[in-house]
């Protein structure tokens, strides 16, 4: 009674044989523009999807993933209704879409590859055995695991990028659209709501946003029913959003409505919402016993609406296939899927940690070479010979990067017209135009989503998150999406980007947690992610160029953390000394700073300080007085690259030192200093070592703003103590 897979399987055969099939609307096929052969081909796709689901339910221990597509198989018709080059970001129940699209690719094996994926075999050409994903480079479907709505922002971003002009190479054609599907329960997720809102925001004001959202509404999210009519009520009247509804259990109606909606999106370049009423068969996943929260009568009523029976009814009613032919086809596909699956089960699995990790960092053989640095401009900038602070260095470096890389885009809140809340992007919109330097709406998930999506389309996004604290509400776009793409696609897909984030403490005359956040922990445990943090203007420009190269040439996701307090700092010890300002050196005349390369200054070998960002500035202040007052010579090692840490370099410096001080402006708990201490310990470094950190506190406002942070005086005192201990 509770083996619903068997019940659904048996019911199909029985009802087809007995011609107990749903009624069909004669003429619907021709009206939809489909041929008899099209309907049979789509039915085959439904059969493939269904038998893969049944196979997965019956091969526990050999397959590792049982969230099925049963009840949603008519998504095959959506694949038919859009173009094969329309990039699709898919719901985890969309095997029908994937199969239909891949069937049209010469040389592609459809069932076998799916079976490899179910079996988590290393041979799986999509993820290399890392996850059951729906996707593939050959079908323009970036692989997606069973995430909840986290793919909507990037779908919106990819759609947005289609309308942007680009002189470089791009993946999507100007006439293509983006398809993005999700379930009714996921539609409630703030990520989904944010992405749909961002699409509407663009559509409402006439900006190109060619995206087809497809909500596969099966009335339930695991065990929680979606209120009747909720999806329609929620999305029918959104500003800028064209709403179309169809019967997602009916291939022909799904095709017709999807075609209408897709045609609208393609023509109007505006978002549409295709609401497909589907059903969910066999529960949420293999381990989910539906009878625990749904009455049997209800379950059976849903099963009676099996979309495969609907298609069977149409095939019989239109005299395309007889009931016997349908059942023969059904059984032949069952046998075929089982044979294919058995073959796939014999294939190797990932066997070592190295093999699992192999695709965290994308392979280096990319087809993009970093363009040469721009030549000197005829008209020299007015401040070319002046010593300028970090904000001007970053501004000039961005200017050069936009000129150098035609695919580069700069965007974020207030980066365009205003030129950034700290003026870092001033003048860039005027120079490169609003299609390359853009203001976005106020939503960090959307900003990072635009970055990921635009990167899928060949752009090099340089998004800005206005303040470090704001990244936390959008963290998953980096952690769950951007950073995992190469991993889950076996290195075939990348979303290179440089995320500029203004952050850290010490802002003069200001304060408050949200504008001075000093927590980097969020970036420290994301495999593959790079975190850079400069401490001076010239370093900032050189490191930013390397960050952009890493993204452009190597497909990496880089976070570039800019210490706000140093943006406009020019003096080190006394007003007017200008020791923290330098003239800007254009890229063509400058030497690069490679990833991991530290900045080492100071002659001394009495005490070595490891630090970064504002800590470097404070350490230099301390070093002056230590040398003058105590004749203690310190060496300052600017780590520059905080993730991954250059452990070898750190240990090598530590081995030369008499004593070590770590100055870390982030909190004592969870800061980089913890990792450095661990590495030093593991390397057997036994010289006197201390660390100075920010307190485990949030940052207050006003004069108390820096009380919890490391200070010059603390560094001086700590070095004195260490020097004494080492003597």
């Amino acid at each position: 009674m509770f083996d619903r897979a068997a019940a659904i399987d048996d019911a199909f055969i029985r009802r087809v044989k007995a011609r107990d099939l749903p009624e069909s609307n004669a003429g619907a096929l021709a009206d939809a523009g489909l041929s008899n052969a099209d309907l049979v081909a789509l039915f085959d796709t439904q059969l493939m999807s269904r038998h893969l689901d049944l196979m997965a339910r019956r091969t526990k221990g050999k397959t590792y993933y049982s969230i099925g597509s049963a009840g949603h198989e008519a998504m095959a018709a959506v694949a038919r209704a859009v173009r094969p080059d329309d990039m699709a970001f898919l719901h985890y129940r969309d095997a029908g879409f994937v199969i239909e699209r891949r069937k049209a690719v010469p040389g592609a094996s459809v069932l076998y590859d799916m079976a490899l994926s179910f079996a988590a075999s290393a041979d799986d050409p999509v993820s290399g055995g890392r996850h059951k994903v729906l996707g593939g480079k050959d079908i323009m479907v970036p692989p997606q695991t069973s995430t909840i709505a986290s793919h909507l922002p990037k779908a919106m971003g990819a759609a947005h990028s289609i309308g942007l002009s680009c002189q470089g190479t791009r993946t999507l054609s100007r006439s293509s659209i983006v398809v993005c599907s999700f379930g009714d329960a996921s539609a409630n997720h703030s990520t989904a709501q944010g992405a749909i809102n961002a699409a509407c925001w663009a559509g409402y004001q006439g900006s190109p946003m060619p995206i087809l959202f497809v909500c596969e509404d099966n009335d339930i999210g695991i065990s929680v029913p979606t209120p009747g009519g909720w999806i329609e009520a929620n999305f029918r009247s959104r500003p800028g959003l064209h709403y179309v509804a169809g019967d997602g259990t009916d291939l022909i109606d799904t095709y017709a409505t999807a075609k209408r909606a897709a045609d609208h999106v393609r023509r109007a370049r505006k978002p549409a919402f295709l609401h497909l009423k589907t059903i969910r068969l066999m529960g949420h996943a293999g381990a989910d016993v539906e009878a625990g929260y749904r009455r049997l009568r209800e379950i059976e009523a849903v099963e009676a609406r099996d979309p495969l029976l609907k298609t069977a009814g149409q095939l019989v009613a239109f005299d395309i296939l007889s009931p016997d032919e349908i059942n023969a086809r059904y059984e032949a596909m069952r046998a075929r899927v089982m044979r294919v699956a058995e073959a796939a089960f014999t294939r190797p699995k990932l066997a070592t940690a190295e093999a699992v990790k192999a695709s965290i960092i994308p392979p280096k053989h990319r087809d993009r070479n970093f363009p040469p640095a721009p030549q000197h401009t005829k008209k020299r900038p007015p401040d070319a010979d002046k010593s300028v602070p970090m904000s001007r260095h970053i501004n000039r470096a961005l200017d050069e990067i936009l000129a150098q890389i035609p695919e580069a885009l700069l965007f974020g809140e207030d980066v365009g017209r205003k030129g950034g809340v700290y003026g870092v992007t001033q003048g860039l919109r005027a120079r490169f135009g609003p299609a390359r330097v853009m203001d976005t709406l106020l939503d960090e998930q959307s900003i990072l989503g635009i970055a990921i999506g635009a990167a899928h389309n060949g752009f090099l996004p340089i998004p800005e998150i206005q303040f470090l604290a704001y990244v936390h509400n959008a963290e998953d776009q980096l952690r769950g999406e951007a950073a995992t793409l190469s991993f889950f696609s076996d290195g075939q897909f990348t979303n290179p980007m440089v995320v500029r984030i203004a952050g850290l403490g010490y802002q003069k005359g200001f304060g408050g947690h949200f504008h001075n956040d000093n927590a980097l922990a969020v970036f420290r445990d994301i495999p593959g992610l790079i975190l850079a943090c400069p401490s001076s203007g010239r370093d900032a420009a050189r490191m930013l160029r390397e960050a952009v190269r890493l993204a452009y040439e190597e497909g990496r996701v880089v976070v570039f953390l800019e210490p706000i307090a140093l943006y406009n700092t020019v003096d080190l010890e006394s007003t007017g000394d200008k020791r923290w300002a330098e003239t800007y050196v254009p890229a063509i005349d400058d030497t690069p700073i490679n990833i991991g390369e530290p900045g080492i200054t100071g002659p001394g070998d009495d005490v070595t300080i490891f630090s970064y960002g504002n800590g470097i500035y404070l350490s230099h202040q301390a070093a002056s007085s230590l040398q003058n007052e105590d004749n203690i010579k310190v060496r300052i090692v600017d780590l520059r690259w905080l993730v991954p840490l250059n452990v070898e370099g750190i240990v090598a410096e530590a081995q030369k030192a008499r004593a070590l001080l770590i100055v870390d402006e982030c909190r004592r708990s969870g800061s980089v200093s913890e990792a450095i201490m661990t590495h030093l310990f593991e390397a057997g470094i036994s010289v006197p070592t201390k660390r100075i950190n920010a307190e485990d506190s949030f940052i207050p406002l006003g004069t108390a703003a820096t009380i919890t942070l490391p200070s010059r005086d603390q560094i001086v005192a700590a070095v004195r103590t260490l020097d004494e201990a080492a003597s």
Binding site: A37, K103, Y112, V340
Partner: protein
């Protein structure tokens, strides 16, 4: 329980001296088939299949020309297909090499036997009369049938030498063999620059034009003028074409099949390796039955299986061992393997 089988249809060059009398030997019980194939031939200027098959000796100049070779192979292979014991084998898909695609269409029911014969005869005649250039075969595997990167690189080097003055392209990817299509200058370049292997390669195929290459594009128009789309049918068995595309019965557009068969298939690379790859992965058959005449197609199939590491095959030795115990590939052109396939009287 029936075994599942993938049927692989042979291409040109499989009826040689050793196959003389093949039809008479194996298919004397199929006069209807013979009549159908003979019916498509122009008796005023073409010898009959019976005459060719029953000749006292094999003459390349007679048996090996386009229209004669094609019709002979068609009759023999289709006869073999009909001889498969369907009580023991459930044929789950058909594919073929080059001209074998026409046979696959006929085996699958996408062409009637008669229309298949018309197609084969028409195309064979067109190739004989108007086919330009030729084919050269070269191995891309080592002696153990494993992919040889150095030879593969060499092939790429040869392809890169194609220019306005000499045409060189990939005609067929044939398992462990690479078949080049080339014009006269290209053929001479290849013969000169490909180092000899096994005293056999580079091997020029006699009476073969530059099949599956742009040199044959002019033939497409004539082929379509000779053969209407209406000869194609919805089929009964899945087919895998020379791109590795699956055509499921009743689920394809007849116009698309027509355009592929008398289009892409004529002037683009025929990827037999992809066809085997997809057919094997997507239908996972218990056996592969290679139709006669001849058995030369068995090796390319095996080489592709080795490349895929299918059933754990890593090289020729494994394959031979597997064939000795429970052969995965059953070549009907080899008597002892044929015996495992055909119905016993």
């Amino acid at each position: 329980m029936k075994e599942t089988a993938l049927v692989v249809c042979p291409g040109r060059g499989t009826y040689n001296a050793a196959e003389l009398g093949y039809f008479a030997k194996h298919h004397s019980d199929k006069p209807d088939l013979l009549a159908v194939v003979e019916g498509a031939r122009d008796e005023t200027r073409q010898p009959t299949i019976s005459e060719l098959d029953g000749a006292a000796s094999f003459k390349m100049s007679r048996h090996g020309t386009g229209d004669n070779a094609s019709a002979l192979i068609y009759a023999c292979a289709l006869g073999d297909f009909l001889a498969i014991d369907r009580e023991r084998f459930d044929i789950v898909a058909v594919t073929g090499n080059s001209m074998g695609w026409y046979l696959a269409l006929a085996c699958a029911g996408a062409l009637s036997h008669r229309n298949g014969a018309e197609l084969v005869n028409s195309m064979g005649t067109l190739m004989h009369n108007e086919g330009e250039g030729g084919q050269i075969v070269y191995p891309v595997v080592d002696e153990n049938w494993r992919p040889d990167p150095a030879k593969e690189a060499l092939v790429q080097q040869m392809l890169a030498a194609s220019s306005e003055s000499q045409f060189i392209a990939t005609s067929i990817r044939l398992g462990g063999l690479h078949v080049f299509a080339a014009d006269r200058a290209g053929l001479s370049y290849l013969s000169k620059h490909l180092p000899p292997v096994d005293d056999r390669y580079p091997m020029r195929l006699v009476h073969h034009a530059a099949f599956h290459s742009a040199l044959l594009t002019p033939i497409i128009k004539k082929a379509r003028a000779n053969l209407p789309q209406s000869i194609f049918e919805a089929g009964q068995i899945p087919m895998v074409d020379g791109r590795g595309m699956v055509w499921m019965p009743q689920a394809f557009d007849l116009g698309a099949l027509y355009r592929y068969t008398l289009g892409h298939q004529i002037d683009q690379t025929f990827d037999f390796s992809a066809a085997i790859d997809v057919a094997v992965k997507e239908f996972a058959p218990d056996r592969i039955i290679v139709l006669g005449p001849g058995s030369t197609l068995g090796a390319p199939v095996a080489q592709q299986l080795i490349r895929m590491n299918w059933r754990g095959l890593t090289g020729k030795q494994d394959f031979k061992a597997q064939q000795a115990t429970s052969p995965f590939i059953l070549s009907m052109g080899i008597d002892e393997q044929r015996a495992r396939v055909v119905a016993t009287a």
